[in-house]
Every structure is written in structure tokens, then in C-alpha cells.
């Protein structure tokens, strides 16, 4: 390196300064918001809190608890979807933007099958079994969608620059949405009513949690544990990790790289299928565009956690879900911003921007050391 180059590297450019400015401003905004929130919680009449936003009401313990739980249960759902983004990125190095649609297919098939079960009376009389059944059906359909997608749209582009499958994935996304409109019509469709006993609150440790949310968290936890076992403890998982790191050497080991890529899509699809059912249980309504927003948020979650890292995808999902549920009231409201509960989506993406500013590799992303690159 010449002296001139070293000089240039040490010098901060305008962009660097701008980024530092953004980091400082955003950190200040968040920390101050939180401090004001805490002050307000300690004493609602304290002059600082009252002066900045006299309308702010603060949170009761029950409300706080409710927000945490609903944040976590939605976050778990994002995490499940995020796994698919992260796994495909790990193996093929591109973002499969049609993955949100794989999730939507899961939610749609769950809706169709659960309504059929409801007509037959099984939904009411044997809810848990029915739930298990729709989860299995959703897994099958989502997995099939993901696998067909890989075979038809991405495999022919295997050697192409990464931008090309990425753009293709946006096209695939529209295609699947439109197929859904053609087959099922454009309107929103609803899941059958959940049994009353499910909605009851149950106390677990110090929390009073709605049964629905317990169920969502339990299903998500089981799925994630299953995935972890598959990836870390089985031969297939070892092959997946090997292919993600070095395809040429993986095939030298005798691993069938194409088959492993299909497996990766299938497993990601299965997780999205489970997430689709969780969506159905949480919101009970599904439409052909259902996949879009959760898909983009799950993608953000994958990036927040460190793309390509499975633990990161789960953690990213949970933190994004919690942030979008808590931040409006804990950070935005103390600043006197109105209509905060409708800013949930904006908050999710602000979290993404903030994490990228502060830690560009994501929470658990590993930076390649200089030796790795050699």
C-alpha cells in the first residue's frame, strides 16, 4: 500500500460522516425515548415526561406483558419465515423474494383445509388433531411450492450472476400471487373460529398468556428445535452446511449438490408452511397478498440476525417482532408522535436500518477474516 492510499483509507469520506451522524441521531432518539418512557412509568406527573408529550399515558403491567407476548409470538412467526431466506441465501447467495409466497401458500392451504374440517365438525370436536393435520398439509404444500420453484425458476439460472435469480424471484412472487387469485378469488378469506378454550388466558410462571399465543410459541419452538436438529445433528444437515460453504469441495466429498439445494428449499418451505398456519391462528384472515409484508419483515429479520446464520434468523425474528410491538409505545410515544400503534410496520424497517448502521453484518453475522478470504 502506498502512502497516498493509506492516507486515503484513514480519511473519513462524506459518506462515513453522514453514517456516523445517522448512528448518533438514531441512537439518541431511541435511548432518549426509552429514558423518557421509564421516567414516565416511575412518575406520570414528572415534569419532563409531561412536557414532551402530555398525552402519553404510559403502560400498565398488563399492557406491557400483552405487548411482549404478542411481539414474541409474531416474532416467532417471522423467525420461521426468516429461516427460509437465510438458508437459501447461505446455499445459493441470493435472496429468494418469492419465499413470502411460500408462506402465503401455507396459510391458504391451512384456510381451505380447516374450513373443510370445520364443515365436517372435526375442527370443533377435535381441535388439536385438526391443527396437527392442517400443519402437515401446509408443510406439504409449501414444501412442494418451494421445490417446484427451485426446479423451474432457479436451477436453470444456477451459473448466472446473483442479481438474475433475485429478479426472477420477484417475478415468481407475482406469479404465485396471481395463481392464488385465479384459483381462490381476490377477497380475504377467514379461518374458522378457534375454540373458546384456546383463547383463555393461562398463567405460566409470572405471565398470563392467551392460549392461542402459547400454542403459536410452542409450535414455533418445536419447529425450530426440529430444524436445529436436522441441520446440526444429521448427515443431511452436515451436507447442507458443507454445500453452503464450498460447493466444489462438497461435491468432491461425494455430496449431491443439486439434491442438497433442493433439500434446503424444501426445509425452508416447510418452516414457511408452519409459519402460514401460525398466521392463520393469530389473525384468522388470509388473502393473496398475505405473504408480502410478513415476507419482507422476515427478510429484514434474517438480515438483522445476520443472513446465512440460522440462530441469527430466529433471534432476528424474535427481536424484530418484539421491537415492532414495543417500540411504538416505548420509544415513539414519549417523543409525542401521534397514532403510534399504526407505525408498527415503519418501526420494523427502522430496526433494520438501525441494525445495518450499527452492525452491518447483523447481530450474529460473522465477518470473514482476512484469512478466510485468501
Amino acid at each position: 500500500m502506498t502512502t497516498a492510499m493509506r492516507h486515503k483509507a484513514a480519511q473519513k469520506t462524506g459518506v462515513d460522516q453522514f453514517l456516523t451522524f445517522l448512528r448518533v441521531v438514531l441512537s439518541f432518539f431511541i435511548i432518549t425515548g426509552l429514558v423518557m418512557f421509564v421516567l414516565q412509568q416511575i412518575n406520570p406527573d414528572n415534569p419532563i415526561a409531561a412536557r414532551i408529550n402530555p398525552d402519553a399515558t404510559g403502560l400498565t403491567a398488563d399492557q406491557f406483558e400483552g405487548l411482549v407476548i404478542s411481539g414474541l409470538s409474531q416474532g416467532a412467526m417471522y423467525g420461521l419465515i426468516a429461516l427460509g431466506y437465510s438458508m437459501v441465501y447461505g446455499v445459493l447467495g441470493f435472496i429468494n423474494f418469492a419465499h413470502g409466497e411460500v408462506f402465503m401458500v401455507g396459510a391458504m392451504t391451512g384456510m381451505i383445509v380447516s374450513n373443510k374440517l370445520d364443515e365436517a365438525g372435526a375442527w370443533e370436536s377435535n381441535f388439536l388433531l385438526s391443527l396437527l393435520f392442517i400443519i402437515v398439509v401446509a408443510i406439504v404444500c409449501s414444501t412442494a411450492t418451494a421445490v417446484i420453484m427451485e426446479r423451474v425458476a432457479y436451477r436453470p439460472l444456477r451459473g448466472a450472476p446473483r442479481l438474475i435469480p433475485l429478479i426472477t424471484s420477484i417475478g415468481v412472487s407475482f406469479l404465485i400471487q396471481n395463481i392464488s387469485v385465479v384459483l381462490l378469488g381476490p377477497g380475504a378469506k377467514s379461518y374458522p373460529t378457534l375454540p373458546d378454550w384456546l383463547a383463555d388466558k393461562r398463567s405460566i410462571l409470572f405471565f398470563e398468556i392467551e392460549g392461542t399465543k402459547i400454542m403459536v410459541l410452542v409450535v414455533a419452538a418445536i419447529s425450530m428445535a426440529g430444524l436445529w436438529f436436522l441441520v446440526e445433528r444429521t448427515k443431511t444437515g452436515k451436507a447442507m452446511r458443507a454445500v453452503a460453504e464450498d460447493k466444489e469441495i462438497a461435491s468432491l466429498m461425494g455430496i449431491d449438490v443439486n439434491k442438497t439445494i433442493v433439500t434446503t428449499f424444501a426445509v425452508g418451505g416447510a418452516m414457511a408452511g408452519v409459519a402460514g398456519i401460525l398466521w392463520g391462528i393469530l389473525f384468522r384472515s388470509v388473502i393473496h397478498t398475505t405473504g408480502f409484508l410478513p415476507g419482507i419483515k422476515a427478510f429484514s429479520a434474517a438480515v438483522v440476525g445476520g443472513i446465512g446464520n440460522l440462530g441469527g434468523a430466529m433471534a432476528g425474528g424474535l427481536s424484530l417482532g418484539s421491537a415492532e410491538s414495543l417500540a411504538p409505545l416505548m420509544v415513539l410515544e414519549p417523543w409525542g408522535i401521534g397514532g403510534v400503534s399504526q407505525l408498527k410496520d415503519a418501526v420494523a424497517f427502522l430496526v433494520l436500518i438501525f441494525v445495518l448502521l450499527v452492525r452491518p453484518t447483523g447481530l450474529f453475522g460473522e465477518r470473514l477474516s482476512s484469512e478466510d478470504r485468501a
Binding site: E248, G254, A374
Partner: protein, 244 residues
């Protein structure tokens, strides 16, 4: 070609021509590797050494000519077919799976095998050959030193229980002391009865341990002789051993 009293070669290239698009890489290459021998292919940059290895492993399909394993033509068969039948390679620069543990790297070497007892026996053989590797089993292989990584790379290749081990530039990018260790490891593996086909730029080093060798120049085999004869060959000394 050196005649081996009628013994069947383990792995052969018969009149191989390979093209990358319009570029003619390998030209009428004839090679034969016999069981249990240590041979080397010498050549400078862009002489077609890596392509030779890739062709042998089925990663590149030759335009004409045959790759023959145990008398069977294996052109167009996937790499896994050759690996299953006892051909494997230690790639240039080791290429370990850095985010995977040492143990997992070794297990991946045995990916196609189903004989649990045999795998366990080979794992123990690798441990006894490289005690340092045994101490590092649960570490991520990317955290190992260069020398240790080399041992894992060799161990990983041995885990497929190969009959012939292809070595791509074992001296490439290593400190001189490591090159020495590396060649000692190669000899050690060779003594276990594994045939070794080594591709090298470092002719001195390679010929000092090899039985015989070939010299590849712009895709053509220009010399084919015993290691001693090649060492003494003035042409080779001029072009590869740096003596004008």
C-alpha cells in the same frame, strides 16, 4: 509409458483432449497410475495441471479420449462415482469447511460410506497419524494453524478410504517448513499403500519423493520418465529447476 509387467493401471487417461469453450487445454494426454505408486505431474502455470485433475475426477468432461478406472471407462460419471470407487483429492490450499468442526470435516470425507465400523477404524487411523488433529476435534477447522489444516485436509481425504489420492499443488502457499512437513505426510500416506498422484510446480520437492513423473507443457505431456531420470534431464533442469 512405463510398463508395469502387464499390471492393470488403477487410473488412466487415454488420449484425453479437453476444451474450455474454444480453448484447447489438454492435448492427447496419456497417463497411467498403478496401484501403490507415487507419481507426479510437473508443469508451470497454465500448463493444464488443474484441468488434468478435474478431468480425472469427472468435474470436467473431456472432448475426446477416455478416463479409465480399473479398466472401466468413467467419462461423464459424476465425481461421487469416482470417490465411491477409491479416487479422491486433496485440493489446492486445503479448502477445509472452515465453519464446520474438525470432526465434521473428517466425517464429510466419509460421506459416501455406509460401513460404520470401517469409518470408525479410519477415524482412529487418522487420529493416530495426526495426534494434533485429535486434540482439536471439536474446534472449527478455520481456527486451526496452517499445518494443522493441512493435516485435516489429508485426514479428510483419507476418510474416503482411497486407493489413489490426487494432490493438487501440496506445496502451494505454504511456508517452507510446512512444505517439508507436507511432503513427509504424503510419504507417510504413501507407505500405507495408497497410490499418490501429485500435481506440482515445485519439481525438486516432488521428484525427491516420487517414483516417476510427467512434465506437462501447454497441455501436452512432453516428458515421461522415472523420477531419477527426470532429475537428471537437462531440459527439465533448465525449465523447472531454475538452472539455466
Amino acid at each position: 509409458m512405463t510398463d508395469r509387467n502387464g499390471a492393470t493401471p488403477l487410473l488412466e487417461m487415454r488420449g484425453i483432449n479437453t476444451h474450455y469453450g474454444a480453448v484447447h487445454i489438454l492435448k492427447d494426454v496419456e497417463l497411467a497410475i498403478y496401484p501403490g505408486e507415487l507419481v507426479c505431474l510437473l508443469g508451470g502455470n497454465a500448463s493444464g495441471k488443474s484441468t488434468t485433475l478435474k478431468t480425472l475426477l469427472g468435474m470436467v468432461t473431456p472432448t475426446t479420449g477416455d478416463v479409465v478406472l480399473d479398466g472401466e471407462v468413467v467419462n461423464g460419471k459424476p465425481t461421487s462415482y469416482l470417490v465411491e470407487r477409491g479416487v479422491t483429492m486433496v485440493p489446492e490450499n486445503r479448502r477445509l469447511f472452515k465453519r464446520l468442526s474438525v470432526k465434521e470435516n473428517l466425517e464429510l470425507g466419509a460421506y459416501l460410506r455406509t460401513d460404520r465400523d470401517g469409518i470408525q477404524r479410519d477415524l482412529e487411523r487418522v487420529y493416530s497419524m495426526f495426534p494434533r488433529v485429535y486434540e482439536r476435534l471439536s474446534q472449527k477447522s478455520g481456527t486451526l494453524s496452517g499445518g494443522e489444516q493441512q493435516m485435516v485436509a489429508m485426514g479428510r481425504a483419507l476418510m474416503s478410504n482411497p486407493r489413489v489420492l490426487l494432490m493438487d499443488e501440496p506445496s502451494m502457499g505454504l511456508a517452507p517448513a510446512l512444505v517439508q512437513t507436507n511432503f513427509e505426510l504424503i510419504e507417510q500416506i504413501h507407505q500405507e499403500g495408497v497410490a499418490i498422484f501429485m500435481v506440482e510446480q515445485n519439481a525438486n520437492m516432488a521428484l525427491s519423493i516420487a517414483d516417476r513423473g510427467w512434465v506437462l507443457q501447454t497441455g501436452r505431456v512432453v516428458l515421461d520418465d522415472t523420477a531419477d531420470a527426470l532429475m537428471a534431464n537437462p531440459e527439465l533442469r533448465a525449465s523447472y529447476l531454475g538452472e539455466a
